[in-house]
Amino acid sequence: MKISMENIHKAFGTNKVLEGVDMEIESGEVHALMGENGAGKSTLMKILTGLHQKDEGTVMIDGEARTFANPKEAEEFGIAFIHQELNVWPDLTVLENLFINKEPVTKFGLIQTKKMKAIANEQFEKLAVSIPLHKEAGQCSVGEQQMIEIAKALMTDAKVIIMDEPSAALTDREIEKLFDVIRSLKKQGVSIVYISHRMEEIFTICDRITVMRDGQTVDTTPIPETSFDDVVRKMVGRELTDRFPERTPEPGESVLEVKGLGRKGVFRDVHFTARAGEIVGVAGLMGAGRTEIMRTLFGLDGKYEGEIFVNGQKVDVKNPSQAVKLGLGFITEDRKGEGLVLDFPIKDNIALPSLRSFTKNSLIQEKEEQEFVDMLIKRLTVKTESSKTEAKNLSGGNQQKVVIAKWIGIGPKVLILDEPTRGVDVGAKREIYQLMNELTDRGVAIIMVSSELPEVLGMSDRVLVVHEGTIAGELNRDEADQEKIMTLATGGQVNG
């Protein structure tokens, strides 16, 4: 199937999101689509698959102009879409999830469960995943959920599969599996549109790349004819130097120490220290338990085993409000779900954990609050017209900056960042790295959980590797490399 989109326009209200996009997808190719957050990548794909309707332009499929009224039509025509936001039903089983709205039925209209199981098993085998079909999807890790989504798309026997940041929740091992699948699909003549902010992946798996900026196509090039820097330049519209800014760490006293931390059935016997001014990277496979450790540390999951010390003092972190008082900040992996009040203006989001500091006589001092917020917006270069803009109207990268601003506002001693750059474009990524450096320069200790190995290697002063709920090893900046981390993460031994 050959698809060509020409001069696509789309506006949401007065917000012009696409202003003349062109893109061509050949059959059997893996076509990368890149661009900054908010460039319009997802919107373009939603238009292709009938979730949104275009305002202007044409979509030609095998030489014929076509418009789909809804995603189901597109799917029946052979175009499947793995969405950026996971579309799982947490309370339904994996099997039920796979077949929503396409259950095979008997002539009496009853669902044929056996048939469903057979199809599902076959599909899972191809993908080499082993998620029990009767498991509730909500009990699956984000990565497993992503695999369910992928399986769902593959089951449709599509000729074109759009993958919108499929790897954001996957670790390298799963990504490898995904790539194997992509390669075999390609052999069968299936075309893939691959959207990602991870440069390495693009250069590993894709044949051609289209770059978008501000709702327009910059250009399309074969992968061999371009480079990291070239792509970045096209995306951002200017030259970006090194991806990871230089770090000159000067670690001070230990500010956070954890001894024998554990929670039944989730993780156990976790030891580590974070010193003022250093970045501790935390790596591990999907579902290894990194997020759980951080949540416990922040008082989010109640009772725990073991001891936590802040500034050498033993503390008992019962709830987040206590953690905040102790000087801990937590940027969670789920920015929209846990980081922001999306309906709140930027101002109220940033001020939320710091309300106390500008309250007098029980009243919020609005002028002080405004100054405080403006200062942080400026310092983090949040791109917005006003601090009154609602958080939901910001691009992903800018939303992430608001979350970080909110925590910088409390003057933290320890900042925990869980997947700080997930779904964030290269430009914004670099700014976040720079911020991390600034913070450590001021003596903040940073714990950075990340599934993106280049980021872990590029930014950490020390790397902790988590395997099945415990720390499998610790590597210094100079000894850490991809191979060692992966060995530890998969249960192997590393000497040194």
Partner: protein, 318 residues
């Protein structure tokens, strides 16, 4: 480690499903220890008949709640449709035909709710709050506040609410039959699956091409239909249509659904739970009467039992 967690979770799932049933059993044991006449066959038959009306309404409520909605208007739909049925009977229409037409009218009232929620984009709580007032007002206008009586003495009509078939009260049979049909619809058909899907993640349901509006309208219509059916039983039982019938019935129905373990936020629950929930409420009413608890104190006990039941359920889920 992983299999241990999985094991624990499965046990959790089973006890969660059994939870309401165990609660019902415990209640029955307690009541019959204090008053053995509870287990008298006649009392049990009565109990089923008493439960039927709430159970039927609660079935419909289960579907609505599974989609993440709520229907406060069920009691008013019951009243309006039973007034209309009675009106038809008085005007000489065949009683059974009147009941059938009345049930369809109930479905239409439900569809109004569904349209307000989908096309009108109103919060279900508000839409059905408004129609609750509106349908009640229409009932009063139609009946002029008076009960409608003189429904004739068709045997079939009398049987419908008061009779026995094979020794079982007809309303109880209706309740069990409706259960069977609705169980199949909910668990074995794509429509049922869609009901769950909408409540579990409406956006995803839309993206999957489910016609969310249509399913919702159908679900609210079903709730209306079942309320009207419950109304027909009530009309037969009272041999008249009461303009005030069904007041506050939504609360008992919602209580039955929730006691049965269905989540108010949608997407999770079982209709068998609802049946058990309705039986719990019925047993409580019946049992407290047998034990001679004053009607005022019964309310206190009912409130406390709901709290305890839900708390235990929460504990188990955690």
């Amino acid at each position: 480690m992983d299999s241990a967690i999985k094991g624990a979770k499965q046990v959790g799932n089973i006890t969660q499903k059994l939870g309401p049933f165990v609660g019902l059993l415990a209640l029955i044991i307690v009541v019959s220890i204090f008053n053995s006449s509870f287990l008298d066959p006649l009392n049990l038959l009565n109990l089923f008949r008493q439960v039927a009306i709430n159970a039927l309404i609660a079935y419909g409520m289960t579907f609505v709640i599974l989609t993440g909605g709520i229907d406060l208007s069920v009691g008013s739909v019951l009243a309006l449709s039973s007034a209309l049925m009675a009106g038809m009977m008085v005007s000489g229409l065949d009683p059974i035909l009147s009941i059938i037409i009345g049930c369809l009218l109930g479905a239409v009232m439900g569809a109004v709710n569904g349209l307000l929620v989908t096309k009108g984009k109103m919060a279900p709580f508000i839409a059905t709050l408004a129609t609750m007032t509106m349908f009640r007002g229409l009932t009063l206008v139609y009946t002029d506040g008076n009960p409608i009586t003189g429904l004739g003495d068709s045997y079939a009509f009398q049987l419908f609410g008061r009779g026995y078939f094979l020794g079982i009260p007809v309303p109880a049979i209706t309740m069990f039959l409706a259960f069977a049909v609705l169980w199949v619809i909910l668990h074995k058909t794509p429509f049922g699956r869609k009901t769950y899907a909408i409540g579990g993640n409406e956006k995803a349901a839309l993206i999957s091409g489910i016609n969310v509006s249509r399913v919702k309208v159908m679900v609210y219509s079903l709730a209306g239909l079942l309320s009207a059916l419950a109304g027909a039983i009530l009309v037969s039982r009272l041999d008249s249509a009461q303009p005030t019938a069904g007041e506050a019935y939504e609360l008992d129905a919602i209580a039955a659904v929730v006691l049965g373990g269905t989540s108010l936020s949608g997407g999770r629950g079982l209709i068998v739970g609802t049946l058990i929930g309705a039986l719990i409420i019925g047993t409580l009413n019946n049992g407290l009467n047998l034990l001679g608890v004053s009607s005022f104190f019964q309310m206190v006990v009912k409130g406390v039992v709901i709290i305890i039941a839900v708390l235990i359920d929460r504990k188990k889920a955690a």
